[in-house]
Symmetry: C2
Subunit: 647 residues, 2 copies
């Protein structure tokens, strides 16, 4: 029941209006809206957790070896021998990063993404940098994984090669819609393909190794042609570093677990930590196995057939069912790998928006309780990249992983600094930070060294990366990230200044308004004009109607009709020799406005014609609309639309 | 000086604000704005008049013969012999139409376009039909003439063939800009190319005829390949009628003079009449000459080389300077031919808009005193057609000329009816119609028969046209014109109904407003909110603030701050379980609105955030804007934006 007329005790009244969102095409596409109370509080165990968070990291085994080979190819097929040593170096790096992240997981039970760790320990600039780096990389993860997934499919069905860009973009849109729906039961849905992938990869690697040991593993039958470099180069240390840098793309996705700790069952840091170790072990062993075998079967890196496809073909002797299983499992896990970005990018951008670094709208959860705007933004930017790079993994890879390693470095450095802070604390004291609570811990020095070493290693890799791949495309990212950081800062400044300007701190009541002047622009005299006039007269006694004269005949008619209907209200007719409407009116309002005394308000009452059907708007000049857009920027002028609907 | 405060004798006050339009890129493109007083009142004599109005008609000699040949080609090159007889038939039709239009020119000294003649004599439906037919054809004239002009250029420089669509569209844009500037000195500028064209065509035809008579005119050297039909057809009467229909495109543009009579010097009907005869004579003789010669030199219709080009090449023995003169003159006159449409289409649409058949905005004259919107509309539609038809004259021709002949028929029928009305008048009496004045004239019967015969002939041609070219594309126009007629009627109905609804006839003053209820939606409490609150309190004592609660924390803060700053105004907090903002608010307003008593007004006062820079809008949810769009459609609800600018 509404009882607005009476005043009851309190001036504040709570009401629930039963407005369920209306059904529309969006309901059909992404499902019925969910009330806020439905927010999921589901947690997962280690087995499901591995499935949910590992797809991104594990999927990189599908392209890491190949990307190393692509670089080595510049020195001819003989150089392919270097693939295994390079892979061993990468696995060592993987171990360092894993140990380093183990500590992060235990320190940030509420989730310790690079942005949070950098923000709490290093300050605003490193936090913004980590944020920018991560956002760049999430976008690239979607582009690279999806392109690689489609490359697997194309290897099996070469006829699809010409449609790879279309297929890739369509898949991005599909994953976007799935995420807009909100993947509630994602855990279980993820488990099947992830474990299927792990199992089938181990089987393939196992069989191939067995055949290798028994001497029955031959070379790839009819391998794709080697896209020969212009001139063969020698295997310089630079080339090896370059190959190493390309291979480090295997490490992307490692940070996923540290972002998602809250999703694990209690004891969650324990569970998350163990899952991280599992994940790294599987990743490392598969990657080593694939690199070793690729060299021995003489796999050739190619846009037309992936190394995985060549290996599967060789291990299983042709494109039989086992081959198709491998290709299918690889494609699916690559497509699922995007999902990590789809989970993390919107969450990160919402967090940064809440901190005032990104537009506030990103904090808004859509009808399905997901950060829909972040999801859509991610899909669009990734799709543009895919189209721009023709869905080529090799084209995208030079841009990739720099952001991840920058974020790794900042995160590990932040952790090191956190240990240092912990070392200064008195035992028993607690310091609450935004992302975690600091307590003194024994052995902080060792832990600080571990994280510090991790930071140093990833920093070196990042530099190697930037230098070796600079001209191939890494420069784009090296330019983009600083620009993003600047943009984040500008946004932050805007919000801060706004908050200061609007703050009620030390703010007295605004001065009372003493005089209220009203201007009604009219183009002709009709029922709508009179309704606006009457409304204006209700507001104030000081009303002036203004008519801009473009056509003298029309003006004469207005003049004459005003004598009858104007109720004695003053009418000013503005001559407009250049047939302009807005400009003379604005100039008049400016004049009045400049004569305005303090405590005086000017209101423009605009009779706004509203046709019954939207289409009919085409038949009417939208002067009221234009007037409003322009007047909004005038200080101290209020705009009122008095609509008159006619059917 | 402003003295708005004091009341002087009259309530109506005239003022001139010195607002000259500001300079911008538009000034650069189309020139400085012109005041209304500058409207041109220039008139032209017969020689310049011929140049201005004849380009459209004369230019059709450039393609009419070729389009006849294209049809005859279906029956093989032997059938080309029919081109001369068919051309003679067309010239006879030309004579009939010319005589018929002579009478129109003398009857409508104020301009006697088909629309006016049909409107004054036949009624609204025929007027609308004539209007729709003419508009269709003006668009096609631009598309056909421009494409044909470019085809001439391409004949001379075959390398440009692949760019013909780009060139054609670019030329349309060029002519558009010229017309947006307002072609003030058009007369003289037109005279040179038109007379150059006439002279060079006569010279070419003369030389070729002389060489033919002396036996030295050979066949076309290396003519373009004949694009052979699938199977040769015999020369049926249908094919001949079809060829005839294609050739009647030569008659398009004949009506231009009757539209533009006011542009002639006094005695203007006399001058216009003579100019019309000149024009038809030149057109007829050139067309006959070209058709005769084309047959004799064995010219082949082709997309790659125009018949004019083949004829010039043969007459002048190769692509020397004389050849280039002919091609240049033909291209220029074809491009200029568009100008007739650019003059007539905007004028016709402004006239129809003033009568309420088209959107009123078309009556507005732009900064250069031309009907800029009509000019832009014409250019865009013509460009789309050109792109769609690949700038192919042969592709466009089946759509062409139906509209013109429909307009011819209606115009002549209207004239016949006018003579009939004149025949009923008593001598000495005058009847004023909108377009002309009726006085009794002797010999009205003969004149009625002449116009009636003209109408019958053009009607027959139109039917021949529709039937023979139906499947080639004429059906498009035959579907389009009735649709356009219906659209014009719908627009007219809308304006009529609107005028009735807004009419002040028998309208008393609106009832006085007794109660004024105000609702302020607020999302948080800050200086902007308080400014809006204060404004609302000035308007009425009955103010309610409404907060839609999406985030409970935010709502609690609003609640608490309201206690301090709310000045005792009631605050309603609406729970929104689905995180919707607009819907609960609208539902609340609906409830209040449904309880509204008569003489009660509801005003929604929206605090509207206005950032200093337009770009910053991206950082703010545009709820005020959305709210306004939705509320506009609610009856009896006024929307007020109280802007708060922050920098």
């Amino acid at each position: 029941m509404l009882n607005l007329g009476e005043k009851d005790g309190s001036v504040v009244q709570h009401r629930t209006v039963g407005s369920t969102p209306s059904r529309s095409w969006r309901t059909w596409l992404i499902g019925r809206p969910l009330p806020t109370a439905d927010a999921p509080h589901q947690t997962v165990g280690k087995a499901i957790g591995l499935a949910v968070f590992a797809s991104d990291a594990l999927s990189s085994t599908a392209y890491a070896t190949q990307e190393i080979l692509f670089v080595l190819a510049a020195a001819g097929t003989m150089a392919f021998g270097a693939v295994f040593p390079v892979s061993i170096a990468i696995v060592i790096l993987l171990a360092i990063v894993t140990i380093s992240y183990e500590q992060t997981v235990h320190s940030y039970p509420g989730g310790g993404g690079s942005y949070i760790v950098a923000r709490d320990n290093l300050g605003e600039l490193p936090a913004r940098t980590a944020g920018a780096a991560l956002m760049t990389d999430y976008v690239l993860t979607v582009a690279v994984s999806m392109s690689s997934g489609v490359a697997q499919i194309v290897s099996a069905y070469p006829a699809l090669f010409d449609y790879r860009v279309h297929i890739t973009v369509a898949l991005v849109m599909f994953v976007m819609i799935m995420n807009l729906r909100g993947v509630k039961e994602s855990g279980r849905a993820f488990a099947v393909p992830t474990y299927f992938f792990i199992a089938s990869m181990y089987i393939m690697v196992g069989i191939a190794l067995f055949r290798y040991l028994t001497g029955s593993l031959g070379a790839v039958p009819s391998p794709p042609a080697l896209e020969a470099a212009h001139a063969l180069r020698t295997l310089t240390p630079f080339l090896i570093l370059h190959a190493f840098a390309n291979g480090t793309s295997a490490l992307t996705g490692i940070e996923a677990i540290s972002n998602g700790i809250t999703a694990f069952k209690e004891p969650r840091t324990h569970n998350a930590g163990i899952t991280l170790v599992w994940m790294s072990s599987i990743l490392g062993s598969l990657f080593l196995g694939i690199s070793f075998l690729s060299k021995h079967i003489g796999a050739i890196p190619s846009e037309y057939e992936t190394v995985i496809s060549q290996l599967a073909r060789t291990a299983f002797d042709g494109k039989g069912l086992p081959y198709l299983c491998i290709i299918g499992a690889t494609s699916v896990i690559l497509i699922m790998a995007c999902n990590t970005s789809f989970a993390d990018f919107p969450r990160l951008s919402a967090m940064m928006a809440a901190d005032g670094f990104l537009p506030r709208q990103l904090t808004y959860r859509g009808s399905r309780l997901v950060y829909s705007r972040g999801i859509i933004a991610l899909s669009l930017i990734a799709s543009i990249l895919i189209i721009f790079f023709d869905a080529s993994v090799t084209g995208l890879i030079p841009l990739y992983a720099i952001g991840v390693f920058l974020a790794f470095t900042l995160s590990q450095a932040g952790m090191a600094r956190r240990w240092w802070k912990i070392g200064r604390l008195q035992p028993g004291r607690e310091v609450k930070e935004r992302g975690s609570t600091l307590r003194y811990e024994g052995g902080w020095k060792a832990k600080m060294i571990i994280n510090g070493f991790g930071a140093a290693c990833t920093a070196v890799v990042m530099i190697v990366f930037s230098v070796t791949k600079f001209f191939e495309g890494a420069w784009v990212v090296l330019v983009l990230i600083p620009l993003l950081v600047l943009l984040l800062r500008a946004i932050h400044k805007h919000y801060q200044q706004l908050a200061r300007n609007l703050s009620l701190e030390g703010f007295g009541q605004p001065p009372t308004i003493l005089r209220h002047r009203i201007i009604i622009p009219i183009s002709s005299v009709h029922q709508g004009t009179l309704a606006a006039l009457q409304y204006a007269q209700m507001l104030s006694d000081d009303v002036t109607a203004v008519h801009v004269s473009i056509d003298p005949e029309e003006s004469a008619r207005v003049h004459q009709q005003w004598e009858t209907w104007g109720q004695g209200v003053r009418l000013v007719i503005l001559e407009s020799p250049y047939r302009l409407f807005l400009e003379p009116l604005l100039q008049y309002i400016d004049e009045i406005s400049s004569l305005r005394r303090p405590n005086e308000t000017i209101t423009i009452v605009v009779p706004q014609f509203v046709p019954k059907r939207w289409m009919h708007n085409v038949l009417h000049t939208q002067t009221a609309m234009m007037l409003r857009l322009v007047l909004l920027f005038k200080r101290g002028v209020v705009i009122t639309d008095v609509p008159y609907q006619v059917g």
